[in-house]
């Protein structure tokens, strides 16, 4: 069930009405929202509901054990075991065949015998996200970021709440569980912001991302040999725009939908292509993942506590693993490695001096330009189906003589609009909200309804799944 569909609209209306009708029965309301979330997940593949439920129960149980135990070594063992089980489950579904594929190649190269049989493993949608939520819970209990273990009902809701279930944002246990523990306030629903985020998200996904994919990006990446250098360059910028519009759309809608139920999710994007450097980029792009990796992986590896060399090693390893998290492919490993290496280089050259406030305007413009070019260059590995396709894409940059055919007025408008969103005032949503605060909320609702019809009319027939569903 995709957000920009009438199916989801009807689902949302039903769940919204019933959940608020149950306001005076908080436990029943939570149980209802959990059932609705499992229904939402079952619409993808009902078979994996057991996996989702099993993951929640396991993490709830481990959280209780860690909390009960006062012995630090035992706590460390328990949290390690919990993280290992979570990662093993993720690893099996996500990386089993990738691992086997590489093992079989090694066997073939070394003439060691027969291939190992592949398994028909289906990747459960959202597994990366709900696994990370589970890890966040047990680690936060271990680190005493959460005072006491939550009830099973709360954990089931935390992990399965449908707006963030399949593609984030990754909500920290220490951030979300206190919200669940307190009753939602019917006098504090951030509806104007929610409408703005949902409408903006729908526009980015249905109009910008969908047309960028179908008119520009998909063909160029499917067979790069058909295109010259300028077309490939333009399609690469097109992909940068597409992935931003696609993913930020999902999380904006998720934040908006959660807000209409009275819950608060963290921002996930902050105009990433205006970043002045790579550290800045990763503070703006998929913020909930990059901060999760920092707090649960980079710091667990030792962070910056053991000298420069180990700090850079940890940084590089975090980025490589972050790359691999995106998918079982060498392309993602290379993508993560390039970002890791560039981040290390940026640290070595600039230390921690690359701050926007300390730079002149030309320096900031140069920083933004260089960062954008590097990011677009690495997106080629991210988007290409495999390494030969990425190589074909890069070799296409030598075909300078071919004319630019893909830069139609429409495609240019799409890329231009997606990039222009990055150079609006950072708080533009709040400004719109303030400027229209005297407009009654039901008028806002009516305008949102008209906006939805406009977006639907402008969009192509059918909506492609969000890119991050595959991760």
């Amino acid at each position: 069930m995709l957000f920009p569909t009438l199916d989801f609209g009807l689902f949302f209306l039903g769940v919204f009405a019933l959940s608020w009708a149950l306001l005076k029965l908080p436990r029943t309301r939570l149980a209802f929202l959990i059932a609705a979330s499992y229904g939402f997940y079952a619409a993808w593949d009902w078979r994996f509901c057991a996996l989702l439920g099993g993951s929640s129960v396991f993490n709830w149980f481990m959280g209780r054990q860690i909390h009960r135990n006062q012995d630090e070594r035992a706590r460390k063992f328990l949290v390690g075991a919990a993280v290992a089980v979570n990662l093993s489950t993720l690893g099996f579904f996500k990386y089993y065949n990738f691992f086997l594929d590489n093992l079989n190649r090694l066997i073939e190269t070394l003439h060691l015998g027969h291939d190992i049989q592949y398994l028909d493993v289906i990747l459960p949608v959202g597994i990366s996200f709900f696994t990370f939520h589970g890890i966040s819970y047990v680690v936060d209990i271990y680190r005493r970021k959460i005072d006491r273990p939550s009830s099973l009902l709360h954990i089931l809701f935390y992990i399965a709440f449908f707006p963030q279930l399949v593609a984030g944002p990754i909500v920290r246990a220490s951030h979300f569980l206190p919200q669940i523990a307190n009753p939602v306030s019917p006098a504090d629903i951030r509806a104007r912001r929610a409408f703005l985020l949902i409408l903006g998200g729908l526009f980015k996904k249905v109009v910008l991302a969908n047309y960028l994919a179908s008119n520009l990006v998909d063909d160029a990446f499917f067979d790069p040999t058909q295109y010259g250098a300028w077309d490939l360059l333009f399609a690469d910028y097109g992909y940068a725009a597409q992935i931003y519009c696609d993913f930020s759309a999902y999380t904006d809608i998720a934040i908006g939908v959660a807000a209409l139920f009275g819950y608060r999710f963290p921002w996930n994007f902050n105009q990433p292509y205006r970043a002045i450097g790579l550290q800045d980029f990763w503070r703006r792009w998929h913020i909930s993942l990059s901060s999760w990796l920092r707090d649960y992986l980079y710091i667990s590896l030792g962070g910056n506590r053991h000298g420069s060399l180990k700090r850079y090693r940890n940084l590089f390893a975090t980025m490589v693993l972050g790359g691999l998290w995106h998918g079982a492919s060498w392309n993602f490993v290379i993508w993560g490695s390039l970002h890791g290496a560039a981040l290390v280089l940026e640290h070595l050259v600039f230390k921690d001096r690359l701050q926007a406030a300390a730079l002149s305007l030309p320096q900031r413009v140069l920083g933004t330009f260089v960062t954008l070019q590097f990011t677009c260059f690495t997106w080629i590995f991210f988007r290409a189906a495999d390494l030969p396709h990425a190589a074909a894409y890069f070799s296409g940059f030598a075909r300078l003589g071919r004319p630019l055919t893909l830069a139609t007025p429409f495609n240019l408008s799409l890329v231009g609009l997606a990039m222009a969103l990055h150079f609006l005032p950072p708080d533009w949503v709040g400004r719109v909200e303030q400027a229209t605060r005297r407009v009654p909320l039901f008028v806002w609702g009516g305008l949102a309804g008209a906006g939805i019809v406009v977006i639907d009319s402008l969009g192509p027939t059918g909506v492609a799944p969000f890119i991050y569903f595959q991760f």
């Binding site: 919204f16 271990y142 006098a187 629903i189 934040i255 908006g256 807000a259 909320l441």
Partner: protein, 95 residues
């Protein structure tokens, strides 16, 4: 793992947003659905056309067809058609 790890505060998507009361939010959601129903009769018909075949969906399809006819008769149904035609024209433009 270090138990003294300090997390940076996550900035919420609704930070600083204006609060509203449940009654007015329900009215707004209702207004949103109503306007979408009035202006989006064509999309509604497309959606019903893709429902699994059965007595219930036949009934819904008939309702959606009648609804689209009424909306077209009063001119509201042409809104989405005009937008779509404009975009199709823009898409086929070349320099």
């Amino acid at each position: 793992m270090n138990k003294t790890v300090t997390y940076k505060l996550q900035i919420e998507g609704v930070e600083g947003a204006l609060p509203s009361r449940l009654g007015s939010v329900c009215a707004a959601v209702f207004a949103c659905a109503l306007v979408a129903l009035l202006l989006g009769a064509n999309a509604l018909l497309n959606w019903t056309n893709n429902l699994p075949i059965g007595p219930a969906s036949d009934f819904i399809l008939q309702l959606a067809t009648d609804w689209q006819g009424w909306m077209n008769a009063i001119g509201l149904g042409h809104f989405s058609i005009a937008l779509n035609a404009w975009l199709t024209g823009f898409q086929s433009r070349h320099w």
